[in-house]
Amino acid sequence: MSESTVLEFHGVHKGFGGGQEPIVLFSGLDWSLEAGRSVAVVGESGTGKTTLLHMAATLERPDAGEVLVDGRATAHLDERALSVLRTSSLGLVFQFHFLLKEFSAVENVALPAWLAGVSRKAAWDRARELVSLVGLENRLQHFPHQLSGGERQRIALARALVNDPDLILADEPTGNLDVRHARAVQDLLLDLVHRQGKSLLLVTHDLDFARRTDQVLRLWDGRLAPE
């Protein structure tokens, strides 16, 4: 395995639904993502794009095969170890922002770092830095219900970056936003990824967005093929 891969799939099988007609999404998927590259996965609904992302995020386990994150095999890791892995190596951005409504913008960004063991001061400093980076420095103390949809998604992005992960996993990050805000968030995401040298695995319906990454892959019949 190359030292510079952040994500690897080896012989991954995944299906769901037992009984009469189980659905097989992947049977023997082999694929890897190199460090510093951004890849977009497109495909029709139901092909398993999100499941692919969840397996990369270690939120779901494959039925068979291996998923390696940062060179580490994840199949035999327990919840605790997986948590540590996620904290250090992964940043997740979802279609829905999942901000905590009881906490302000800066608190939402700082908390994952603080919970991961970073000191309170360091976590808050980094959070402020990232919120400024996404252009919301005058919204630090605002609560989610006081932010627009686009602003919330930007905070979610800042949160994904707070632990300085090597790999960002984004599932339809702009799916809920109108055109103008979507564009702004897309610019921000790609800019951050390139500037900070991170890897990105993006799942999206938006082909224009997808084409702005280094490589576009189409998921069909359990296989990833260049678009």
Binding site: S83, F94, F96, F98, A116
Partner: protein, 406 residues
């Protein structure tokens, strides 16, 4: 394992309840637990008050901590001073205990417990003097009787219609053996009365002069030395020491435990039963907290899935919910304990009981710190455990399901 971020989370969730879901549930649980803590503290304080003051009086007046009975029934000054020298021994008082009939010229008559004390007893055993109400040197306080004098319990004097200065007769049978028992009567002057607060003693005791009692009324086993200790629980150990030091047979020493086992057993049982019954409150509120917290876990489903997704171990999040239970428990313990102590202290000054039903003028209340702590800990434990158990739902939500459902 840094607890501070968890505290931050728990605190914020508790605060935000007020805005979103109403502070009802945790507040009600807190009040319920506080009621339990308050009740237990107040009830136990009163039970302790009754029991401890009674036990103390029992120790001081009646059984004393230890007794040494000389085999020949005669005083032994050397033994007395030897025993007094031992560490932990507060007082050694020669005395007799027997039964007699007291009667008045007007025909009043009663069977009484006859105790014989010398006037020195006032100095030798201040505890005894205090419990008899004889300790102060004020005018009207009689002190222990000289030969020819007696003291009557206040209720006894009232029943017999006798005042200080009157004469009474004491009659008993004395003799070396059953077949040689002969009646003996003494005519004595009532020097004064004593009052202990215990009806049985105030209506049933007569205190005579030690020499009178020994000469006229006492059988061979009635004379003994009443030994008081600084630590009542050291009775057996001290008895062993005294037997060793004085070279006497250990059987000659008897401890208060030997006398009163059934009584103390009964007291212990009553307290235990009361604790169990009122302790049900903790269980009932614990159930309440359990279901409330389960609800909270469900409501925070998304949050929890998110935390798991960004890498926080679910177990740590359980602590957040348990902390809410802990906070409720601590709040209730503080509130309930404060109120319970307040109630206990006010019992002593309020005349809550009608004197027809109860002899005592006021409710005695004694707070035992270990019990207060135990009650508080039980409160905190039940609420924290209930919340912790309820938080098990945290680990049961499959993250991906929750994320997908949005």
């Amino acid at each position: 394992m840094n607890i501070r971020p968890l505290l931050f989370l728990a605190g914020r969730y508790l605060k935000s309840r007020r805005k979103y879901r109403g502070v009802g549930a945790p507040l009600l649980s807190l009040v319920g637990l506080a009621v339990g803590v308050l009740t237990l503290n107040a009830v136990l304080a009163v039970m302790n008050g009754f029991q401890l003051t009674f036990i103390e009086s029992l120790m001081e007046l009646s059984s004393s901590h230890l007794r040494w009975t000389p085999g020949d029934g005669k005083p032994d000054a050397a033994m007395q001073s030897l025993m007094l020298k031992q560490p932990g021994v507060r007082a050694v008082v020669p005395t007799t205990e027997g039964q007699a009939l007291v009667s008045t010229p007007l025909g009043g008559r009663q069977g009484v417990v006859l105790r014989g004390f010398s006037p020195d007893t006032l100095k030798q055993d201040e505890g005894l003097a205090k419990h008899l109400g004889l300790a102060s040197q004020a005018v009207g306080v009689p002190g222990f009787p000289a030969p020819g004098q007696v003291l009557l319990g206040a209720e006894l004097a009232r029943t017999l219609g006798v005042v200080p200065g009157d004469n009474v007769h004491l009659t008993a049978l004395t003799g070396p053996s059953f077949s040689l028992l002969r009646p003996q009567t003494l005519d004595l002057v009532v020097k004064g009365t004593f009052s202990t607060g215990y009806y049985e003693i105030d209506v049933g005791w007569v205190i005579a002069n030690l020499d009178d009692s020994r000469a006229s009324f006492s059988g061979p086993n009635d004379f003994f030395y009443a030994i008081k200790l600084s630590d009542g629980n050291a009775d057996r150990a001290t008895a062993d020491t005294l037997a060793r030091v004085t070279g006497r047979d250990r059987q000659e020493f008897t401890t208060w435990r030997d006398y009163n086992t059934a009584f103390f057993g009964a007291l212990r049982t009553e307290k235990a039963v009361m604790m169990v019954l009122v302790g049900l409150i903790f269980f009932v509120v614990g159930v309440n907290i359990y279901f409330s917290q389960k609800r909270a876990v469900v409501e925070h489903r998304e949050d929890l899935a998110l935390w798991a997704a960004v890498g926080v171990v679910p177990r740590r999040l359980r602590a957040v919910f348990a902390l809410e239970g802990f906070a409720v428990g601590v709040g209730a313990a503080l509130l309930g304990t404060a109120l319970g102590l307040l109630a206990s202290w006010s019992f002593g000054s309020l005349n809550l009981l009608s004197s027809e039903a109860f002899y005592l003028p006021a409710l005695p209340a004694r707070v035992l710190v270990p019990e207060v702590v135990l009650i508080a800990l039980a409160c905190i434990f039940s609420s924290t455990a209930a919340a912790w158990l309820a938080s098990a739902g945290v680990t049961q939500n499959p993250v991906a399901e929750v994320l997908k459902s949005e």
